[in-house]
Symmetry: D2
Subunit: 391 residues, 4 copies
């Protein structure tokens, strides 16, 4: 029962997020949020903007003496560009006035044109400021809180890049939570050293042509308890909630649980995870094709979800044809210095969306208004499970 | 602002669905629902159960003299097996009593084990009766109502199979609404005649081995107005809602919008749909990679969404290892006569989930308590768009 | 996290309700539902229709062998008039056709006119069939399930009539759960014998004049645990949820928590419940003005909520002026044999709405997918509270 | 389809509110918000704190060049005490640390004790900082936005005090929107000059004794279009939503629609509003007992809702008994300089809650992503109504 709202425009004063439904007593510090925001800036292909971006984070409400109060947690992420210079003050002024530089040429591959049509704007900036992936910084803060809550249950959510443009990680060796630092140190957040080198080559070649790259990230949930989500109603299925959360990330066009599309091509005899039992570990699966979700319920196995991101639609060199909405003349999408790829960073956003779903479902299953109550309920479920016939 | 709840177990007395939020004045007949329920039984690989299944449909509330009242529409789908014989009466009795035949061997690839652990059952039937894809019949009724509403806006949602096991439709010729009868007549609901023949061969070969097949369906939305969904908040993005809806279908493990995973491997210069304009048709895209959604908003182009289904986990011959929860001994998943594949039928369910999302977002954008008001508002939006700079 | 949808028209085939979110393992029988539906027919002033009304109740889904499955529970309440005769079959036919007897004279005090305007109807029956209080039978079934769940926590929700027309129960002696049979045996469901006699006299006098009566009921929640609802957000406050639930009952125009409006006239020094402590019982209040809710949170004291019902707007003799929407001529609201008052029955509906709120908040606080887990979590919260400084 | 979250503690750095669902193109200025926040400080009985409170308001997101963007609007209300001095910096620090002054004596009539028990706190400040009515400042900002939107439909929501302690406005002359300045200039926000004088006397007498007063406010909605809310489902009834919204205000214990409890004591022949018609004004009611809502739907008549507030529970002189949770000894609730009454200010909060409900229902009925579209749809509904049989 977590809910959150985010607000703020890319070049506006700040982003804000309010997260409602966290139990009281969760240890939270600004550093916890800064770490995740810093991880969101990771990646070889990130351009100068990201390096300069220094997020000044303020916890405005919901935390006292380092612990949540059970009340909504509000966090503001100041826009360092806004604070440092007045470059955007006029263009993004809250006060009545007119833009000096309306953007009348909607960019293909962005929300620009459809957003202008939906909302009745003639300046694409009225759309793109909110549609920008900058907004995910606010989500990452919410996700950081979700991760802290999950950590109380010893659940860890990490990610790694498994495809960059056409280059795929050949051998699917999955990082464990202890490997996260290694992944984050990789300029492409890839855990397969061979693929990593190829990915970097691909980025360099793409950069030279002023083009951009998409890719695929894999999110892994370690320690996810059995029983999150439910088969009883379509909108309570864990995989369905994960798909919604991941597909909501800017530029994501595909989502898989476990081996997803690949499993669709297999025979049934080779597509499911057999169940075994031993007294020490209880029930387990001998393979992991299902990605830790069966019938919309977490199985207690490793949770695996993937998100496919299209290449950035803002390019440094090649052109995408568009139209000026005022003159109605054909033109090309405006160019600006941009990153080659946002896939490594997107992985961090994907982690946070998965963490938000898991934390929401965990609070639903275990209830609890304080962390102590939440953890106690989770613990007594585990104990009852272990001691009963299903353990 | 549509919401719906479904209820009912696979071998119980009936399924029920209540749909709340439909405008008044929508022409609805039992035949409209029967047609869609019949389409849900399509497909070469369907076994005898599906052929016998005759859904007796009763509209219990919300419709008077062939038109909706604005009040919740309730539909009951009687289970013909329940009516025809008393075979399931004891096993699925509502009255207190005990099962004669507890299923203590959870089947891999199903909700069985995780559901038993979550809910504290020792009889897998307490899970599988609800987890069964039989439940999608109730959704199809809801979806049929959504389709009727969308038809008032001249929106049509259809589907076709583009992959059956390893066999893919080679050339992606997409069916138009007028082609739906052709698709439905294909035993595999494939619009590519060459692939159709290969798919049938694959099914035959698989059947011989008692194995099962998954596959991929593509859902197409024709006439979807620009402006459904929104970029302004993560949980309002149309693609995110579509992903949730499609991933909630039993056995679906992957979802794509437009060319999805394939686009992730392209360069940015080759991954987006250029915008052009002419006075007659307004703004259009010259390609369709994005699947009709940009920035979480429908663009007015053809909507394309895909769902990948894993093979059925209940097999006629090969075995999947499992454990008896009472004896704790290893065993194999029980066998029963089953279909080779449910992919063709799943396409119809996928259509209905997409239709439910689109109808929900259309009622949100256009408001309206009667169909007349809803259509009038949609029309004046179109007119204003056509006459303004964004038209 | 309970949600429910109801459907069905007053003279249609049946009412249906689906309740989603109940834990598995709750003992439920058709009798439990029948008892509450029978209580909904209580009351001196009820006319012949209520006596004939025999609700044939069918649990369609969600219950097996006398226990909930965790899946949505669907219940159908057949309309006995529909089954017994075909009187309403044409007028309420689902099939296309036209009414033989359109009601074109909207009745004051009902949804008729506003509903016709909102939904674009010219036949008031298209509104009144759903607006009718008959719909509360479906809610009572949902409420009966909620009461069964609350009983697992030893919470009991009862009601009594404290005002009938101008006659008020003088001394507010509140019935305990053990007194419910006494209350239900009172023809006006009043626990104050003196007031009861006066109320009956008032009803007789009113009946003689063909007029109708409103009144006030008080709902009491015994054993409500401390900590339901929350002060942290406006829409999580228990009193706010109770007010919504009670005001949603047909003809209810006022709601109070505890002594409500009366407390507004007091001085602060005489308007709050002092806190005391003793080792045996923990913290307690020495008065009960707040109605068991402070700051939007249940205090563990007796929960008290009241609902004021306006008199029935359908009268046997006096006339209410209205207009024919076709002829636009003034006329009087049509008369029909009706009850003098529905206040005693409304009390039972009010109980069920309160029970639904409490059960929803209890599942939110304690979580749990099975009754065992739900009760265990509630118990460990109580134990921790008792043993800690707040116990 | 408006939703909003608020956050922030009474003595913390700031309050924040995010409002999601406003259409684009709504003219909004900081002044619009300041005016309403200033009105929230009105009232004779307000103590020194309110006079000093200067709310520094910042629109953080969702507004550009004086117009909403359709994206979530975020507003921060800085706590002037926080900025002006560091008095609260340590006590309300976000950083880990311990309080120097734990409040271990929960105050009767507040959330303190129940909140401590629910969330596991031993310092009442962890509850009261969020439970404080200071939080309503954030709601008032949301309500100010709702009022601006309603004004586009020529809907005005105002309030006046009709009871202060035991003193009632004798003759119910209701202020029109043009009278709002007169009401606001009254130190008790009462529109009845005779009662106003008595109320002031009552406040003076109460102040002398160090006691506090409750009272009743009436909220009036002028120009509310017919057709908001619905009879079709319990949770869509306008009166039910209003009751929830009003009862959620701190210290409100009773809610009425129209004449509420008073109507419950009348005969049916004298309790409903007759319908008349003339060609110029369409359908109208000749009395206003129902408060502008019938069957859960707005009738187009004057909307009337009332909220009863208990006296403040923090007193200057008299004592309320309580217990120290550490020592378990009896004591009295701590005293502090406080207001005699918050009823005049509560009226402004009640207006904003009513405005939020009406704006939410209006966006649901009329849809629209821009103000132009929203207003156009509302206009064409009105036109169609006027020209049809229900006009």
């Amino acid at each position: 029962m977590l809910r959150f709202l985010t607000a703020g425009e890319s070049h506006g004063r700040a982003l804000v997020v309010i997260v409602e439904g966290l139990p009281a007593g969760l240890a939270v510090g600004v550093d916890d949020l800064q770490v995740e925001l810093g991880r969101r800036r990771l990646g070889y292909g990130r351009g100068p903007r990201m390096r300069f971006e220094q997020d000044e984070v303020t916890i405005v409400g919901g935390v006292r003496h380092g612990r949540t109060l059970g009340s909504p947690v509000a966090v503001e992420i100041a826009n360092s560009e806004w604070t440092r210079s007045d470059k955007w003050h006029a263009e993004m002024a809250v006060e009545a006035g007119a833009t000096q530089a309306p953007l009348t040429q909607p960019r293909p591959g962005h929300a620009d044109l459809a957003g202008m049509q939906k909302y009745g704007f003639t300046d694409a900036r009225d759309v793109l400021e909110r549609a920008s992936a900058r907004e995910t910084a606010a989500r990452v803060v919410a996700g950081a809180l979700a991760k802290l809550l999950l950590r109380e249950l010893e659940v860890e959510v990490i990610s790694h890049v498994i495809q960059m443009g056409p280059v795929r990680a050949s051998d699917l060796k999955r990082p464990a939570p202890a490997d996260l630092a290694v992944v984050d140190e990789s300029p492409v957040r890839c855990f397969d050293p061979g693929a990593e080198a190829d990915m970097i080559e691909e980025i360099k070649a793409t950069a030279k042509e002023g083009d951009s790259l998409g890719g695929v990230v894999e999110v892994l949930g370690y320690g996810v308890p059995v029983g999150l989500g439910s088969h009883v109603h379509w909108d309570r299925k864990l995989d369905s909630l994960l798909a919604q959360a991941l597909m909501s990330i800017q530029a994501v066009k595909g989502v898989e649980i476990g081996d997803g599309f690949e499993v669709a091509g297999r025979r049934g005899s080779d597509a499911h995870d057999p169940i075994v039992y031993d007294a020490a570990d209880g029930y387990q699966r001998t393979s992991a094709l299902a990605g830790g979700v069966e019938g919309g319920i977490s199985t207690g196995e490793l949770l695996v979800a993937r998100a496919a991101m299209k290449p950035l639609a803002t390019l440094n060199r090649p052109t995408l044809g568009t139209v000026d909405v005022v003159t109605k003349e054909s033109t090309v999408s405006f160019k600006e210095r941009t990153d080659v790829t946002a896939v490594p960073a997107m992985g961090v956003v994907a982690e946070t969306m998965v963490a938000l779903v898991l934390a929401g479902e965990a609070t639903r299953k275990f209830g609890g208004d304080s962390v102590a109550e939440f953890v106690r309920n989770a613990g007594s479920f585990s104990a009852a499970l272990r001691e009963g016939p299903l353990g």
